[in-house]
């Protein structure tokens, strides 16, 4: 099981967090942790999502990127290295 951290920025819109969690579950990723906060000045949410799966992380990155309110999705490779060390 590979573990990853995704750093996601999103517009602070209705149910954006639910959408991300639903996609992660449906695409075969176990959610190990989540931290989310909103910058109320620019209405941008920052979400750190810890997931694990046998599937390639690109699958999840592409699917989250398709969500309408998502601004960016990045895999935090430092976290991956720490987990595998």
């Amino acid at each position: 099981m590979n573990r990853y951290q995704l750093n996601i920025t999103a517009d602070d819109k209705q149910v954006v967090l639910e959408r991300i969690l639903q996609v992660a579950r449906y695409r075969g990723f176990l959610i190990n942790g989540i931290h989310a906060q909103v910058n109320t000045k620019n209405s941008v949410g920052i979400i750190e999502l810890l997931v694990s799966s046998e599937r390639p992380i690109e699958l999840l990155v592409d699917q989250i990127n398709k969500l309408i309110d998502i601004k960016s999705v990045k895999v935090d490779n430092t976290v991956m290295q720490l987990e595998s060390a």
Binding site: V15, E18, R19, Q22, L59, D62, Q63, N65, K66, I68
Partner: protein, 554 residues
């Protein structure tokens, strides 16, 4: 300077629909959407009352697919909304632009388990491209414009807008702000045309694998020009049927589980597979790691997430097919490969010399196809009749063949035909159905009656859930579990109860006359075609099997 007019939320909805050119809506009223139906009373839009919300959703899909417009459907809260969901899932799987409007209980009652309250916004997450719940009437106009834009942009899909009753009733000023709806407007990296051209020129045995994305991108002319100039043999997915000219000598037919032998063998042998608006669906690939085992892949798509999802692409060409296909249009020297594919196509062609007096469904559908007027729109339900229609009927455009591809939803065909007929009143529309499928939305015969729609229904009747029965016979030791439908109603009487002319045929010699009678009839017509319950769809690639190891009729 904005032109401001005070309206209710409900009447604002119709103003926005008008701005998007919406002329026809399919729906069903109920408590939480009554203000919208009240505003409909004064609207110029034509509303088609279906007899179930699922029928309304499928009619909107049929309308969208036959006309290349956005389909619009209405339903009330609670059960009305949940009844829409199967249609939304179908539209998502087949990338159909739909805007679904649901009424919701008033905002003050939301979250209190109110009468006919369901969290349709939450339910929509898995079966829409996007969804909105409007909790401030001042957001409504922008949200509605956004819904239309999202439905059409990039890979098309369904969008749900849930509008609480108090928002429908609230006063609001129309802003008439700027909005844009640009089909295929997506930001993508530039296409790697150089690498794709290198693969093309090196290929000795290329195959063009055509999917539903071609029709969605309105890139039929570009695809046909590409196929003609390059001379590459082509195969089609179920949803891609009609994109390639069916009379193109290099066209080998549908590939996959019930594809032609020539199409599947060519793909298994090819050294370059050019996927165009196709997604390597499991019904296409069979055993994935044995699919096109010798092929490099060029993958054209507008959806980044489809690249490398099921099959690694050597070169991905992302973006609008209308722009990208012409960039690779070069003449190739592949005469030997073309000749081999054409020989396979001729050698493994369909046989219609079926023994005995019983009616052979493939021959019936071929004859319907040969006799139907030009630009006829055919819809199907799901099952054996669907595969026979895909195999034996010819379509000159994807808008002329509407079938539930990704979701495989029984009950699709009849309401989809209604939507198609509404969108194209002067074209012939034929729903090919089965005796299992038609019962899934049989109430829509009442919609045909009410609006006097001249839909023709070819009902392939084996008194079975035929495809499931076939699999039970082949893969479950003949244990026929819950697939017998011998207690079906009298379909001729049933149709007549809705003032629909109907006829049953049971023998081959009746086929030609009955098809002529159906096509000559001015109004709706149901032709019940009784066939042998033991007929199977061939060829068949068993699950998790390579496509060149298909089972055939022996």
């Amino acid at each position: 300077m904005a032109n401001e007019t005070e309206l209710t939320g409900a009447s604002l909805l119709f103003e926005v629909l008008k701005q998007h050119g919406v002329e026809h809506i399919f729906g069903y009223p109920g408590g939480a959407i009554m203000p919208i139906y009240d505003a409909l009373y004064d609207s110029e839009v034509d509303h088609f009352l279906c007899r179930h919300e699922q029928g309304a959703a499928f009619s909107a899909i049929g309308y969208a697919r036959a006309s290349e417009k956005v389909g619009v459907c209405f339903a009330t809260s609670g059960p009305g909304a949940t009844n829409l969901l199967t249609g939304l899932a179908d539209a998502l799987a087949d990338s159909i632009p739909l805007v679904a409007i649901t009424g919701q209980v008033a905002t003050a009652a939301m979250g209190s388990d109110a009468f006919q309250e369901i969290d349709v916004f939450g339910l929509s997450l898995a079966c829409t491209k996007h969804s909105f719940q409007v909790t401030d009437v001042h957001d409504l106009e922008k949200v509605l414009h956004r819904a239309f834009a999202i439905a059409l942009e990039g890979r098309q899909g369904p969008v749900l807008v849930d509008i609480p009753k108090d928002i429908q009733l609230a006063k609001v000023t129309e802003e008439r702000g700027d909005y844009s709806t640009l089909r295929n407007k997506v930001k993508l990296p530039p296409a790697n045309v150089g690498s794709a051209l290198a693969l093309l020129t090196q290929a000795k045995k290329p195959v063009l694998y055509v999917g539903g994305g071609v029709g969605m991108a309105r890139a039929i002319d570009e695809l046909r020009s590409f196929a003609k100039r390059t001379g590459i043999p082509s195969v089609s997915t179920l949803k891609g049927l009609g994109a390639i000219d069916p009379n193109d000598p290099n066209y080998l037919g549908m590939l996959g589980m019930h594809g032609t032998k020539a199409a599947n063998l060519a793909v298994q042998e090819c050294d370059l597979l050019i996927a165009v608006g196709a997604r390597f669906d499991d019904r296409v690939t069979g055993k994935l790691n044995e699919f096109a085992p010798h092929a490099k892949v060029i993958h054209f798509d507008i959806d980044t997430a489809e690249i490398d999802k099921r099959r690694k692409a050597n070169v991905a060409i992302l973006g609008d097919l209308k722009v990208n296909l012409p960039a690779l249009e070069i003449p190739l020297t592949i005469d030997d490969w073309q000749a081999k594919c054409q020989q396979m196509q001729a050698y493994f062609g369909w046989q219609y010399d079926h023994p005995g007096e019983n009616i052979f469904a493939p021959a019936v559908l071929k004859e319907v196809s040969d006799r139907m007027p030009r630009n006829t729109c055919v819809t199907t339900d799901v099952g054996q009749h669907q595969m026979w229609a895909a195999q034996h009927m010819k379509f000159e455009d994807p808008t002329n063949f509407l079938t539930s591809g990704g979701m495989g939803t029984m009950g699709f065909g009849l309401p989809a035909a209604i939507g198609a007929q509404v969108s194209r009143p002067y074209d012939c529309v034929i729903a090919v159905s089965g005796d299992g499928s038609i019962m899934m939305n049989v109430q829509e015969l009442a919609t045909i009656k009410r609006f006097q729609l001249p839909v023709k229904i070819v009902l392939i009747d084996n008194s079975k859930l035929g495809m499931v029965r076939q699999w039970q016979d082949l893969f479950f030791n003949g244990r026929l579990s819950e697939t017998d439908l011998s207690d079906n109603p009298d379909f001729v009487m049933l149709a007549q109860a809705f003032d629909i002319k109907a006829k049953q045929i049971t023998k081959k010699h009746e086929v030609t006359g009955a098809i002529e009678e159906m096509l000559d009839h001015n109004g709706p017509y149901l032709l019940q075609v009784k066939i042998d319950a033991k007929e199977n769809v061939w060829p068949l690639v068993p699950p998790e099997t390579a496509n060149d190891k298909m089972m055939e009729n022996t």
